[in-house]
């Protein structure tokens, strides 16, 4: 039975469509080209846009490699302080999979790797004591679930294409969206300044604190960045754990560690640096002696607390947790040296 509705084919607008589309193409090229030059002239540069698909590309690297795989887990401190290229200068031959997620504790990713039979590499997991607690055990679970339920060839292809575009064009960055720029003009009477965080395709985020000032506190216009990322789940200020619960949690984590070790892999836990009021708060809520040290004793994984490496104390942390991009490579090389010197990591896989 036919539908009585009309269709567009019956009403085709006539005209020189070839000429029309050619002119449209020319206008698009001129407009976007002009926009690109405009933003670059104001100091903006291309940056890869962080999303779950980018994480999944890294997760695939973790799944596909063998003993040479180094899965880097953590939150924003690992994403901003650990530079994969700098690490490879010291420890060449590793296949790095950067699975850290800003604003989210990494234990769900660790559980996922523990449950993945194909993963036989090394896990370098940056985690604070609050990040070990059950309250935030599933902070990165949405990424894990997305990888297992949504990720596929279609999204891989799309993400690779978007990465190629984002690495070369400035105007495609979310904070330079025309509607956001328009809103900013209406509300502040100014165009957005260059964003102070640049993301690379390997998910390393270079933070330039010299450019940070105009962005401080403006979450809405800064969709991704350590200062603007919204923590997933409860913050450490509100988390508490009883002695019994803590022991149970440590056993749970150890079980995951042993699964990885049983396949020939290694696990390293690194407590990242913090400074100022943040450090005082962390150490008062979760004293090292009662939490990190008991964790270190309970696990068969290698553990390293930043306070045990005097050189780490020399690094400036402008926002109390993250390094400026000028310091991050030096920190990474130092971390690699320490881990190798202490036998936690082989200089070559």
């Amino acid at each position: 039975m036919r539908l009585s509705t009309s269709n567009s084919n019956e009403r085709l607008p006539e005209g020189p469509w070839g000429r029309t589309h050619l002119l449209a193409l020319a206008l698009v090229v001129v407009s976007l080209g002009g926009l690109e030059l405009f933003w670059r002239a104001r100091g903006h540069v291309p940056s890869v846009v962080e999303d779950k698909d980018l994480w999944c590309l890294q997760r695939e690297r973790a799944a596909g490699g063998g003993a040479e795989t180094l899965a880097v887990l953590g939150a924003s401190r690992m994403q901003c302080n650990f530079v994969p290229q700098a690490f490879l200068e010291k420890c060449p031959g590793y296949r790095i999979a950067n699975l850290s997620v800003a604003g989210a504790a990494p234990m769900a990713a660790l559980a996922d790797l523990a449950a993945a039979p194909s993963f036989r590499g090394t896990v370098l997991c940056e985690v604070t004591v609050p990040g070990l607690l059950p309250d935030v055990a599933d902070a990165q679970q949405e990424y894990v679930d997305y990888y297992h339920s949504e990720w596929g060839w279609n999204k891989r292809l799309g993400r690779l294409m978007r990465t190629a575009i984002q690495e070369n064009l400035t105007f495609v960055q979310p904070y330079l969206s025309l509607h956001r720029v328009a809103r900013g003009l209406l509300q502040r009477g100014a165009l957005p300044p260059p964003y102070f965080v640049l993301t690379r395709r390997d998910r390393y985020r270079a933070v330039d604190f010299a450019k940070r000032a105009p962005w401080a506190g403006t979450r809405e216009e800064a969709p991704d960045g350590p200062a603007a990322s919204t923590p997933r789940g409860p913050t450490y200020d509100t988390m508490r754990i009883s002695g019994q619960e803590w022991q149970a949690r440590l056993r749970e984590i150890e079980a995951q560690v042993r699964r990885i070790q049983g396949r020939g892999g290694r696990v390293i836990f690194f407590h990242p640096m913090s400074g100022g009021a943040r450090r005082l708060r962390e150490s008062s809520l979760f004293p090292r002696r009662d939490y990190w040290d008991t964790f270190a004793k309970s696990t068969s994984a290698f553990t390293l607390h930043w306070e045990d490496v005097p050189a780490f104390a020399d690094f400036a942390l402008p926002d109390e947790v993250h390094l400026d991009y000028r310091d991050a490579p030096r920190f990474t090389r130092l971390l690699a040296d320490e881990l190798c010197a202490r036998g936690a990591l082989r200089p070559r896989p």
């Binding site: 009403r11 085709l12 607008p13 469509w17 000429r19 029309t20 589309h21 449209a24 969206s177 509607h179």
Partner: protein, 474 residues
């Protein structure tokens, strides 16, 4: 695979090249079919088998129907088709919903049951292609049309990628004849098809995702009670969002089909200019509303069996129409509300005298606004995740909630929602008896080029959160 994705651009470019190669027509149809399955497999490859199953079952049933002579045999074959299609739909779409509600019903009767709730993945587009294959079988059963000339033609009718996952729901009588003769897009078809693709993506990416969705999400996904202005702004934003999202998809579907030389029916005709609810359903999701009319409402008796039965038929049709949208009582409520609207309109038409006043443009515009207002009330149930949230938003809209100040939106967000709706409504009204094609036909070529360029630039430079098309979940 989303229309507004780089993957689709690459896919479409390859398909266009292959479709225009000097190859036999059956080869090009096979390429289109393979491309359609690849398009569907971009989501979850194993579910292509489900699509193929629905295709093969109904192809076989229709073929046997043409040869069956006894009424019992014909009915039996129809039941096979109904059972397969509705069974697939029922399991994947309503399995968990039915289990949960059955458990609740038993609990209300004092019987505690803890069933295993299966984790069923809803195959994308299942509501669309099952209805499409059902319409084919029903048409053959009722003698309204014959069978497709080949399995290839029929499979292409079911899986044709421009309309596979979110319509328009095609009728075999419209599409199959197009498969029988070789076709490529003419210059006009390709030119207008590409323009429609751009337009559809602009509607979806810029208007729906970037501008309107953030406003509606803030109101409907928050736990806080919105203030009156926020409630209205959120509702108007969603009214705009769902139209731009779905009509945008349909524009892309029509445009992509035209680029391949195929015509698919209109799915929207400026619905927010509808005068009355019957008119609304002749303009909103036309392929779906006409499916309900032809295969449900009319077979139930339509309006031929007295007023009381007509009202019942309307209620049943709209109840199922609401349920089709999703396994949730809020969708059912939305459907039933439209059933009440339609029934109420019938009753009003029956008592109001046919004054000439009703034909005056100003009066009709006022009635269109009233219709739009009631439609927006229905959208509250459609969008809200629970009845509690729906009634909270409605209460705020009509000042029925007390307490302190509620959730307020920024001036920019309110202006965005109201401003865009203030553009959409007059556009719909101006074009309600015309068409987008007629409007474009009046524009000089350089103005068309500027319009296309504007939409491309806006799409390339406007980023919202990546959202799937709303109707992908149905």
């Amino acid at each position: 695979m989303l229309f507004n994705s780089l993957t689709f651009f690459a896919f479409m470019a390859v398909v266009l090249v292959l479709h225009n190669l000097p190859l036999p027509w059956w080869v090009r149809k096979t390429v289109l079919l393979a491309a359609s399955y690849l398009f569907y497999a971009a989501w979850k490859p194993p579910f292509v088998l489900l699509l193929i199953l629905a295709t093969v079952v109904d192809w076989w049933v229709a073929g046997r129907l043409m040869r069956a002579e006894s009424r019992a045999a014909r009915r039996g074959l129809l039941l096979v088709s109904l059972g397969t299609n509705l069974g697939i739909l029922g399991f994947f779409k309503y399995g968990k919903f039915l289990t949960e509600n059955f458990t609740r019903l038993l609990a209300a009767c004092g019987v505690e049951l803890q069933p295993l709730l299966p984790d069923i993945v809803l195959p994308v587009g299942i509501s669309f292609y099952t209805f499409q294959t059902l319409s084919y079988t029903l048409d053959v059963y009722l003698g309204r049309s014959g069978t497709a000339k080949s399995l290839l033609d029929y499979a292409l009718y079911v899986a044709f990628f421009p309309q596979l996952v979110a319509g328009p729901i095609l009728r075999s009588g419209d599409f199959l004849p197009q498969c029988y003769s070789p076709r490529r897009a003419s210059g006009q078809q390709l030119g207008w098809g590409l323009a429609l693709l751009v337009f559809g993506i602009f509607e979806k990416s810029v208007l729906a995702d970037a501008l309107l969705a953030p406003v509606s999400e803030l109101v409907f996904d928050s736990r806080a009670r919105p203030d009156a202005l926020a409630a209205w702004a959120g509702t108007l934003a969603f009214a705009g969002q769902i139209f731009c999202d779905f009509a945008g998809y349909s524009s892309c579907a029509v445009g992509a089909a035209l680029c391949l030389g195929f015509a698919v029916p209109d799915n929207f005709k400026f619905p927010y200019a509808a005068v009355g609810f019957s008119d609304f359903w002749r303009r909103w999701h036309i392929s779906f509303s006409s499916w309900l009319r032809d295969y449900l409402y009319i077979p139930l008796g339509g309006n031929r069996k007295g007023r009381g039965r007509t009202l019942v038929n309307l209620a049943v049709t709209m109840f199922l129409g609401g349920l089709w949208h999703g396994a949730s009582w809020t969708f059912v409520a939305w459907g039933l509300l439209h059933g009440v609207y339609l029934a109420g309109e019938r009753l009003v038409r029956g008592v109001v005298p046919p004054w000439r006043l009703w034909d005056r443009r100003v009066v009709r515009a006022a009635l269109a606004l009233v219709t739009f207002g009631f439609v927006c009330i229905g959208w509250v149930f459609f969008r809200a995740r629970s009845f509690e949230r729906a009634f909270t938003v409605l209460g705020s809209m009509f000042g029925l909630t007390g307490g302190g100040p509620g959730l307020a939106l920024s001036g920019f967000m309110v202006a965005t929602a109201l401003g865009l709706q203030a553009l959409i409504l007059p556009c719909h009204w101006a074009l309600r008896d015309s068409s987008l094609e007629a409007l474009v036909a009046r524009c000089p070529w350089w103005l068309r080029a500027a319009g296309i360029a504007f939409m491309v630039v806006a799409t390339a430079t406007t980023w919202g959160n990546d959202r799937a098309f709303i109707y992908f979940q149905f």
